[in-house]
């Protein structure tokens, strides 16, 4: 019923608009096209200035509304260089934007049709063309130079001694793996994968795997101030490790290993205080369309102090031991998933 009413209303609006439009053309014939056109042209010229003003006020209002909603504090060293580059780009494009948008609407208004003014026949000027080729070229050179400097810094090999974490995507969640005591991630083969007891297809006859810690829900613990390298892969389709707070991102492609590294600079708890949001968490989002559950492919990242990290790590049990109970020591620990939940709870409780 209400749907029907809405349809009627919409229909009515169209009919009214159509009638108005018809009658305004009628007025034109009565008043004489020329008089009418002149009047209309003036109104439209004015409305160009109004549109310009509306845009500018709109942009300002939008900015005021949006800024408080955005977390602008970068949580990594790369994030800081991202922010400064963003600012440089914003200033350069912002100046061009304001000038050109103003000139466009101002010229439109100023040079509206007039019976007294003759148009200025002006078709070429090599000098002008040179100016507006060279100035943007110089501006681009600056942007490229600044950009590539940060880019090569970000994509350099990870520094010696960086912590390694493997992050693997699958439809539709993340799995993370730590190298364990030996500091080495063991080899894996997709043919060994089993959803029951070998999520990543680890080669059990590789001894480096025996102490690896695997976290099925993808939770990742990082240490503040310690560089970390993500070794990224995928089990099925392309996913993408999106780390918006750290201003980093890398595709997870089946059959290919990709890497990124960065240094977290703010712990989760510090960020909760800075943002005055006790529920704040670093989130890992999937940023590459991967199917039905893409929008829910979420994992949590916890940045903490070395002591907190060590305490957490001490509670983890190697995946090998979990999946091979016969090889387990006498006292089984909590499963990693439960342990992970625990830490999240603790963090939020601390702040309440």
């Amino acid at each position: 019923m209400s749907g029907f009413l809405i349809l009627c209303l919409i229909g009515l609006i169209y009919v009214v608009l159509y009638q108005i439009s018809r009658s305004s053309e009628m007025v034109a014939t009565i008043q004489g096209e020329e008089v009418f056109d002149k009047k209309r042209n003036k109104i439209l010229a004015w409305s160009m200035m109004v549109v310009w003003a509306a845009l500018m006020i709109g942009f300002y209002y939008c900015h005021q509304y949006m800024m408080p909603k955005i977390n602008l504090i970068p949580a990594s060293d790369h994030g800081e260089s991202y922010e400064s580059m963003f600012l440089v780009t914003l200033i350069m494009t912002g100046i061009v934007f304001l000038i050109t948008q103003f000139l466009l609407f101002w010229f439109a208004y100023k040079y509206r049709k007039s019976d007294t003014r003759k148009t200025h026949y002006f078709a070429h000027s090599n000098k002008l063309e040179m100016i507006w080729t060279i100035v943007p070229a110089v501006a681009m050179a600056v942007l490229v130079a600044v950009g590539l400097k940060s880019w090569f810094k970000m994509t350099d090999p990870a520094p010696q001694g960086a912590m390694q974490v493997e992050v693997v995507g699958k439809q539709f969640n993340w799995i993370s793996r730590y190298p364990g005591k030996d500091g080495k991630l063991g080899s894996r083969n997709y043919k060994n994968i089993s959803d029951q007891d070998n999520l990543l297809g680890l080669n059990w006859n590789d001894k480096d795997n025996k102490d690896d810690i695997l976290i099925p829900n993808g939770e990742i613990h990082l240490v503040k101030g310690k560089p970390v390298e993500f070794i990224i892969g995928s089990r099925d389709v392309i996913h993408d490790v999106g780390l918006s707070h750290f201003r980093m991102k890398m595709d997870a492609v089946p059959g290919i290993t990709s890497r990124i590294w960065f240094t977290p600079t703010i712990t989760t708890r510090e960020m909760q205080e800075k943002t005055k949001n006790p529920n704040f968490v670093y989130e890992l989002s999937c940023d590459q369309m991967c199917g039905k559950g893409h929008y829910a492919m979420r994992a949590i990242i916890i940045v903490e102090t070395q002591a907190e990290f060590d305490a957490w790590m001490a509670k983890q049990q190697p995946y090998y031991v979990q999946t091979h109970p016969e090889a387990a020591p006498a006292v089984p620990a909590t499963t990693p998933a439960e342990a992970a939940k625990d830490t999240v709870k603790k963090l939020t409780m601390n702040n309440n």
Binding site: Y18, Y82, A108, A123, S125
Partner: protein, 609 residues
């Protein structure tokens, strides 16, 4: 030479009762022509262009409606809408759409707007309509291939449409359809039959666009009337030429990408698949590269955005000049910048792939080349601004859309500079920032070029005007509305909000945008209804619009306005006019007019262009 050739084709391919004797009023002939050959399987470029346009309008409405549906989901994730169930049936039981169909709609929306509307509907319509009329030819070089080009397009559309109604739903991996998602039917519902239909439809579309493109190039190069040297061509024609060149060189690459994908899907090959474990088992495929597809796709994909943009740029140039009564500024600079864009468009594709793990050094090269392409774009903007400077502007509807085009092109082009810099793209990639960038610069701005073109050439197409008042309402709502929809998306992208999400409620980092998403959805619905007003105006005006009394209603210089109000198949009754000057002589002709059409001989002592 050109003349003789075109008359010849004309004789061969039209009915004997529609002979080359154009002395009579054409209407006599047309009565005798069968409806099917005149309006359906027509070989007249003017009819074909209208077929492209009306098919494009259909797809724009369909694609627009899809966006309204998925905006309902994004804006009101916890509400239900019975209307969704009416349209989507079991896909939206109880009025709440499934993620599967959400992704299906997003995918088909992107595909049809990019390919069917802004490629087929834009360049198909205007290249067909304007090339023969503006260069002074009786028809295309091959009217028959031209007709085939439309029918391949139409069939591609039918197949795409059918894919909406199959059990497993349409393709749903995004308009870029990256494998392995699109290669493996286990990976998603839409990767089943829907994906095959998508690939077949695209293949047919590519054939259509190749047939069209070759025809446009040959026609422009060979069939210009006497005196119409390349440097007297209107910029529209230059733009269509480069568009066709881009299409002819890049579409075949997409075709090969599609064929390889079909092999991977059905012939057990491993071009794009390697080491995949899916649906509980490990696939045997090893050694393929999923990234290969992305290279092939974007080798077309980036030129494709300029295939969309160039015709809009050409038409905007023509329209800004005509309605400000001033020559286009920097005619040669405009051509050079189009050449620059055409060449560079082939050299920047990997800027869509900065975060695929490609070599950072290569990434650096692509940053450099990508930012280079901003230079010709900037040159064009400054030339447009100088074109209206000290003009005598008539705010006709096409002029308003032309100005809107420039504003949007500036806004969207500038955000490209953020994305082109890999160090920024590493955060902004696949967020709403990209959505904002390409909708403003390609979606809306190209649409504005297209609307400007439709309002400007409607009188030539139908011998009637569209209603002005409705045109202005359409302009203001669409212009302001588009900024309202897309501008705030930049901020969402800066916050890292990923694109192609069905819901954000569970995300601590993105859920604060719920209210904003709602506002955007409402604006999108309003803008959609404004487009219906345009469609309404278009169709009513075909039969009810104010009739043309003067064959040159805008006092324009280019050749199409010298043809009769209702040109027959062959365009000019009698001889094709000879051209004596460039297309932009907007100056005093000595008799109180402010324009001198191209077919008027130079006055003694007057400088040619």
């Amino acid at each position: 030479m050109g003349n003789a050739a075109s008359i010849h084709t004309h004789e061969v391919h039209t009915h004997h009762d529609h002979a080359h004797d154009h002395g009579d009023h054409h209407a006599h002939h047309e009565h005798k022509q069968h409806f099917l050959t005149k309006y359906v399987f027509s070989q007249d470029h003017k009819i074909i262009s209208r077929q492209f346009l009306i098919t494009g309008i259909f797809w724009a409405l369909a694609g627009g409606l899809m966006s309204v549906f998925f905006r309902l989901q994004l804006g009101f994730p916890s509400d239900t809408f019975p209307i969704l169930e009416k349209f989507l049936g079991d896909w939206a039981r109880g009025g709440k759409m499934d993620p599967e169909i959400y992704y299906g709609l997003v995918t088909i929306h992107g595909t049809v707007l990019v390919f069917f509307v802004l490629t087929g509907g834009l360049s198909g319509t205007f290249s067909n309509f304007l090339i023969p009329l503006q260069i002074g030819a009786r028809d295309m070089a091959s009217p028959f291939l031209n007709m085939l080009s439309y029918w391949f397009f139409a069939v591609a559309g039918v197949i795409m449409f059918c894919s909406l109604y199959i059990n497993t739903g349409p393709a749903s991996g995004g308009w870029t359809t990256y494998p392995p998602l699109s290669a493996l039917k286990e990976a998603s519902m839409g990767s089943g039959l829907g994906m095959d239909l998508w690939l077949i439809s695209m293949a047919l579309f590519i054939v259509s666009s190749l047939l069209g493109g070759l025809n446009y190039i040959v026609t422009i190069l060979n069939m210009r009337t006497k005196g119409m040297s390349m440097k007297r061509l209107p910029l529209t024609i230059w733009a269509f030429l480069f568009t066709a060149v881009l299409g002819v060189l890049s579409f075949p690459v997409l075709l090969s990408a599609a064929v390889l994908l079909l092999f991977d899907r059905h012939a057990g090959t491993s071009f794009y698949i390697s080491e995949v474990f899916i649906a509980g088992k490990a696939l045997p495929n090893i050694g393929g590269s999923a990234i290969l597809y992305q290279h092939l796709f974007w080798f077309l994909g980036h030129p494709e955005v300029y295939i969309i943009m160039l015709p809009a740029m050409g038409m905007a140039s023509e329209i800004l000049s005509t309605h400000s009564r001033k020559p286009i500024f920097g005619y040669f600079a405009m051509i050079l910048s189009m050449i620059g864009i055409t060449v560079l468009a082939f050299l920047v594709w990997a800027h869509h792939m900065f975060v695929t793990g490609m070599s950072p050094f290569l990434g650096g090269i692509f940053v450099l080349l990508t930012l280079l392409i901003a230079i010709p774009s900037a040159v064009k903007v400054f030339n447009w601004l100088t074109t209206i400077w000290r003009g005598n502007i008539r705010f006709t509807v096409p002029m308003c859309f032309g100005l809107g085009f420039v504003s949007l092109f500036i806004s969207g082009g500038l955000t490209g500079l953020f994305l082109g810099n890999s160090a920024l793209d590493i955060h902004l990639h696949d967020t709403y920032f990209v959505i904002a960038h390409f909708h403003i610069v390609m979606g809306i701005s190209a649409f504005f070029g297209m609307f400007a073109g439709i309002y400007h050439w409607f009188p030539k197409m139908y011998g009637r005007f569209m209603n002005n008042t409705m045109g202005y309402i359409h302009f203001f709502i669409t212009f302001i509305g588009s900024y309202v929809i897309f501008w705030p998306m930049h901020y969402e992208g800066i916050a890292g909000m990923p694109r192609r999400y069905y819901e954000y409620g569970a995300w601590e980092s993105f859920k604060q945008f719920a209210e904003l998403n709602q506002m955007i959805s409402i604006a999108a619905i309003v803008v959609f209804f404004a487009q219906i007003l345009f469609v309404f105006n278009y169709f009513v005006s075909i039969w009810k619009g104010k009739k043309l009394t003067d064959p040159n209603p805008w006092n324009a210089n280019s050749l199409e306005w010298t043809a009769p109000i209702h040109p027959g198949h062959g365009n000019w009754d009698g001889e094709i006019p000879e051209v004596h000057r460039w297309a932009y002589d907007y100056k005093d002709d000595g008799n109180g007019n402010d324009f001198i059409p191209q077919h008027i001989p130079l006055r003694p002592g007057e400088d040619g262009h």
